[in-house]
Point group: C2
Chain length 382, copies 2
């Protein structure tokens, strides 16, 4: 599989020293971005929202410190990071995107960032090794680097992400950077990015906490002309697969949970119902316990706010394609033992609900809630 550092004109690198990392991507192109809806926005989020204006030359990201709730000084430090890279590239600092992830409420150690910058800048390169070095440098509680790419006609869409929760333990953040050589105007890119994010990262739940630092950036070098549909499709494929990697890597998770809701009155209802099931602590703990406890799924559907009644059909399916039906139009099949066995034997569980109310379909991604989630988040000390 190609990586983003295989796209013509893209170079990157990254280093990590203990909990602190620095990654740089150099890439001339048009930019689109989607940011956290949290009212308390981290300094780099605010910096990008104010500075980025359609054209970009590079990205600089640190891990270990979120630069969030850090006031005016935090904003100055975010700009300092941009200037560091801009001065080397000989461009204006408003052509550099900045991102941070880590502990909330501490000022950046800019000396450390400057030191790491020299090493990273000197090693900027193309190819898989470079992409992985960047992907590892921006990890916090992640247990593996997250890279994915898809083709769109002649063009490539390739992304990199980090995140093991909508917010990780005192660490903020889900970050994703997506690159393409497909040629679209910045305005079109923005619209397509928003649509893809709504159907991928925004339907992914680890703990329901939305971070102060979330950021998805899409950059197009504009070298290849491809159809809009093919591009949108590839972009969604990249976003969905990065989102699923985050759910699979959810803090303490042992199982990826994919919820599909069919037969809803409209798409909004379908996605809302799927997200309610994927968010329910009782469903998440049941999945951890390999317990096909469908009463909890029914309860979550009931409080999701969508139009449901008792004529629901419910299937559990495993990664290898086995399916067990638990409810057939509201009637329990009594197949709990078979469903429990299916749960025990898979690390990817699909919960498929048919509401029998219409034709619309939606989905959500999540993971189970385990002892390790509690351990990671209770024992992490500020």
């Amino acid at each position: 599989m190609k990586t983003f550092a295989d796209i013509e004109g893209v170079k990157c690198w990254g280093v990590k020293e203990g909990k602190n990392g620095l990654g740089i991507v150099v890439c001339k192109g048009r930019v689109a971005a989607v940011y956290t809806t949290n009212r308390i926005k981290a300094a780099p989020v605010r910096y990008n929202m104010e500075s980025l204006k359609g054209e970009i030359e590079g990205i600089i990201v640190n891990s270990g410190n979120a630069n969030a709730f850090t006031g005016r000084k935090g904003l100055e430090n975010a700009k300092k990071m941009a200037v560091l890279l801009a001065s080397r590239l000989g461009c204006s600092y408003d052509r550099i995107a900045v991102a941070s992830t880590g502990v909330i409420g501490r000022q950046l150690d800019t000396g450390l960032i400057e030191k790491m910058f020299e090493e990273v800048y000197s090693k900027l390169s193309t190819g898989k090794e470079a992409a992985e070095a960047f992907a590892r440098a921006i990890m916090t509680t992640d247990s593996f680097p997250k890279l994915y790419s898809a083709g769109a006609g002649d063009a490539v869409v390739a992304g990199v992400a980090k995140g093991a929760g909508m917010i990780a333990p005192n660490m903020a953040t889900m970050l994703a950077f997506i690159f393409t050589d497909a040629d679209f105007e910045a305005e079109e890119l923005q619209k397509m990015l928003k649509e893809a994010v709504d159907r991928s990262f925004n339907v992914t739940v680890v703990d329901g906490d939305t971070s102060t630092n979330d950021m998805v950036i899409l950059i197009s070098t504009g070298k290849k002309r491809v159809g809009k549909d093919a591009f949108q499709h590839a972009l969604l494929e990249v976003c969905v697969n990065l989102a699923k990697m985050m759910a699979r890597d959810g803090e303490g998770a042992t199982k990826l949970m994919e919820v599909v809701v069919k037969g809803a009155r409209n798409e909004e209802d379908a996605f809302k119902a799927a997200k309610a099931i994927a968010s329910s602590l009782l469903v998440k703990t049941a999945v951890f316990g390999n317990d096909p406890n469908w009463g909890r799924i029914i309860a979550a559907l009931g409080y999701s706010g969508v139009d449901v009644d008792e004529t629901i059909t419910l299937d559990f399916a495993s990664a290898d394609g086995r399916t067990v039906r638990l409810l057939e139009r509201g009637v329990a099949t009594g197949e709990e033992n078979e469903a429990a066995e299916l749960l025990r034997g898979t690390q990817e569980i699909r919960i498929v609900v048919n509401l029998h109310k219409g034709e619309a379909e939606g989905y959500a991604f999540g993971c189970d809630l385990t002892y390790d989630y509690v351990r990671i988040n209770a024992e992490y000390t500020t």
Copy 2:
């Protein structure tokens, strides 16, 4: 402290055999009720919503089976429970309130209920022992019976509740029954009950899952005339204290968490912000780990949707009145060690936030998220 079974005209009893219990209260009076907002409503909820019409003579409650997602037969069984008690009292069955709590999706064992009915009916009596027998009969994962009373002038307001989560492990339910001898019209009772529930049970979060069976019923025997303000005050006191007992008894909880938000622009914002903090898994796990991780509180405030900025003041306070300030108008005080010590030494933690945006105040009740919550909910087998 008086119990509801000390109010003139009130008699009750309850028995429990293994996971199944039955409780009865006999009490002529006016009735007000608030039910779950879950779209999938249990049979007893639907039964009461259709039948109860301002006047009531008794309540019959079973535990161990929620009689939820049980279709037409479930509704017939709820009516059967009402008829059982109505025929002994010589009243119409629409003067009996029915409640159930327990596993979702199984038909009631009406034979068992009839058998237990005889024993309970023969022992109906007044006083503390009777109230406790009823309170224990309706418990599921609760670890203690929940009774509270308050005076309102000459009158008494006394309640009983069960619940260890908005929904317990595959068990549905929070149930509360409140009794008074204060004389008010059914319409006034309804309005005052709604107001008290909104400021007590509805700001209490264990896991965020809203059950199919939630129900709060208020019955007035109408023997005493008291002022409306005094009554409303006593009613709120009873509801708040029963709600706090539920949070303290939250599944696996080791600490009661009380969140107070001051200085909000309006009351709605204040309650919304408090509920967001009390609901955050990251705040709940931090409290379990005795970690004064204020970044998580800030993040929850930020995504709560209320008007906040970085000039927040934040205190942690213990049950015995000690207070540690962590943020002073947005500036960290560095008192994390003192706050951690305070957390370690208390089973009741108050998190007090001042937004400095206005004069309004709100609160919420919750509990920590522990290994035992995961154990209880993952290892419970259907």
